[in-house]
């Protein structure tokens, strides 16, 4: 048979929008197979909506600032004040809603900075394993990983002026090495795969190999870790604000509310318990979401078809 006599194929290439819808449907199926992931997604969306629209959804938006109402201080949860009031008469629920803003703001900024930095350094070190690039990046990473995160964050926040920005700087400085380690491990094994070699032999640029051949295969663990990390960054932020190194009063922060309320435990329990529950719910939500993302991005038998 002549090579040029081509077989007549039944051509049926799906359009871009069909492919997009199909991918979306498949991903949602994989994500939603575990009902807990959906619960996590709902919690996370709810927290985001509440944080973004806090001035509109909070019952007493003014209570988020320097508001004082001694007549209504120390009230237990009731229909007027769903989660009670604190020692100077501010609505706990409203303050929690506003505290979500700072918490999410911090988590997003920390990850937006530390994730690309960590990932790019990890890719470089992994692909150039055994060269001076690897040595410099990974030894620096080791130094950061050797210091206990909370201690380092405390030290940085303490040296700088205690406020939300400096707490974020502190957390960012200690967060990127985890991404570097994660990506480094994957990149060192992916660089030996034949598809990377094939791209090199075709003559593809280093940029293409790092970001088009290697990086896409690292995305699943990166996104999973990112979703889980939002929770952990918020927890660390809460720990910093608990010891007074985060957002300064009167702006509410979850850790600071727990800390303030703890002086009145156990009689005025709502001042401590509800902000603590808020922290737990946020972290739980992001953890469940992270599990769902991992299921969704996992390559496996379900990709066939």
């Amino acid at each position: 048979m002549d090579i040029n006599t081509q077989t007549a194929f039944d051509v049926n290439i799906p359009s871009a929008s069909t492919r997009y819808k199909e991918a979306l449907r498949k991903n949602w199926y994989k994500f939603s197979r575990n009902k807990l992931s959906v619960v996590g997604l709902v919690i996370v969306l709810a927290v985001i909506v509440v944080a973004v629209f806090a001035p509109y959804v909070a019952p007493y938006p003014k209570h988020a600032g320097s508001f004082v109402d001694y007549q209504h201080a120390n009230l237990a949860p009731s229909l007027t004040y769903l989660l009670g009031t604190d020692n100077i008469g501010r609505d706990i629920l409203s303050r929690i809603f506003f505290a979500f803003r700072g918490a999410l703001y911090m988590a997003v900024l920390v990850l937006v900075i530390s994730l690309p930095v960590g990932v790019i350094l990890g890719l470089l070190a992994g692909y150039f394993k055994g060269t001076w690039i690897d040595t410099i990046i990974m030894r620096t990473t080791d130094i950061f990983l050797a210091v206990p995160p909370l201690i380092l964050a405390l030290a940085i926040s303490a040296v700088l002026k205690p406020n939300l920005t400096n707490a974020m700087i502190a957390v960012t400085v200690m967060w990127w090495p985890w991404y570097t380690r994660l990506v480094y491990g994957m990149a060192t094994s992916l660089r030996n795969e034949y598809f990377v070699t094939a791209a090199e032999l075709i003559g593809a640029s280093k940029f293409h190999i790092l970001f088009r051949e290697i990086l896409p295969n690292c995305l699943s663990p990166i996104f999973t870790k990112m979703a889980l990390d939002v929770g952990w960054v918020i927890l660390l932020g809460a720990a910093l604000s608990f010891v007074g190194l985060g957002e300064q009063p009167p702006t509410p922060a979850l850790g600071q509310m727990v800390s303030d309320g703890s002086r009145y435990m156990p009689d005025l329990w709502w001042m401590t318990i509800f902000p603590s529950l808020a922290i737990i719910i946020i972290i739980l939500g992001f953890n469940l979401l992270g599990d769902g993302i991992r299921d969704m991005l996992a390559k496996g038998e379900h990709d066939r078809g």
């Binding site: 194929f9 290439i13 034949y194 598809f195 070699t197 094939a198 090199e200 293409h208 051949e213």
Partner: protein, 325 residues
């Protein structure tokens, strides 16, 4: 027609294993190979696992820098690593790997995989890209429907066809096929082999076909070289090679091919019992590296390493038995 396109001159590739007592210990994966491949031929390179045939291919591709010797491609010395090779050389020299599972990026679709060579070498304009990719798919007899499939959803044979399409995308003149069918089902093997041969004819390609399957070589190769412990021990035209195998190792290999009928059995050389296994290339036996397994060994074989001689016209063998004649 018999213009040499690729010449390997005393090619060596050693790997450092460890240092013992201040002495460096090497694996001599490829140890002094001389091989000339002519324009338009299918050179079959056969050997057991560990004989160094893949290392040889990878050195030619520049994945390893040769420890010694030279690689001449189209009268140009290319004995450097691929990082130092020019783009036009990379375009001219391609490889198809054995494992279709790991040679395609699982996070890309077929279109993304096939457009890389076209983009890198500027072989298609933006608007033509889809058409070019469909053309490529059709040269390997795949339907254009595969464009947006992911490698994970495809079978091994289909993936190998995509690998072949990618290797041919740059329109190379020399293609290394590193056991392209050994990971596949027998039925798909035949299909791929036929396709490769058709493409070789149509595009006037030169193949270096690496395999451990001698019977396959009889059907497709124009010349066959046998490798043992990093060295070529016999090389001849395919017809000559199968009619008159000279090296005891070749005869051992040929007689161990499984056959289905008595007639086929009669075609094989006299039964030579295969004994032993390929020794470790770290600790190569002295003298002829094959003497431990050789049924015809003499005192000379344990002492001196034989040299390659032309025992008959175009038939090279590295054995003391033929040196005497």
């Amino acid at each position: 027609m018999t213009e040499p396109i690729m010449e390997l001159k005393d090619l060596k590739r050693y790997f450092l294993v460890h240092k013992s007592g201040g002495k460096q210990v090497f694996v001599k994966a490829v140890d002094g190979v001389n091989l000339t491949i002519n324009q338009g031929e299918v050179m079959g390179l056969v050997g057991e696992s560990g004989s160094g045939k893949s290392t040889l291919a990878y050195a030619v591709m520049g994945m390893y820098k040769p420890t010694g010797g030279r690689i001449i491609f189209k009268n140009q010395d290319i004995s450097v690593s691929s990082a130092k090779r020019s783009l036009s050389l990379k375009k001219d020299l391609q490889i198809v790997f054995q494992d279709p599972g790991s040679s395609l990026n699982p996070s890309q679709n077929i279109k993304q995989i096939l457009e890389l060579p076209l983009k890198v070498h500027g072989l298609a304009k933006k608007g033509d890209l889809d058409k070019k990719i469909i053309d490529l798919l059709q040269t390997v007899e795949l339907s254009p429907n595969y464009m947006y499939k992911s490698p994970a959803t495809m079978g091994g044979g289909e993936r190998q066809m995509v690998s072949i399409a990618r290797a041919l995308a740059t329109d190379p003149s020399f293609v290394i096929l590193d056991e392209p069918t050994s990971a596949l089902d027998v039925s798909i093997q035949a299909k791929i082999i036929n396709m490769l041969l058709k493409l070789q004819q149509a595009k006037r390609l030169t193949y270096l076909f690496i395999t451990h399957d001698l019977s396959l070589m009889r059907n497709i190769a124009t010349r066959v070289a046998i490798m043992y412990l990093g060295k070529v021990c016999e090389m001849a035209d395919t017809v000559q090679f199968f009619k008159n195998p000279m090296h005891p190792y070749t005869r051992m290999l040929l007689s161990s091919i499984p056959v289905v009928s008595e007639e086929e059995e009669a075609l094989k050389p006299q039964k030579v019992v295969s004994t032993g296994e390929i020794p470790s290339p770290v600790d190569v036996p002295p003298g002829c590296s094959f003497h431990l397994r050789c049924p015809e060994k003499t005192g000379l074989c344990t002492k001196a390493d034989p040299v390659m001689i032309e025992a008959a016209s175009g038939h090279f063998v590295r054995c003391h038995a033929y040196a005497k004649m």
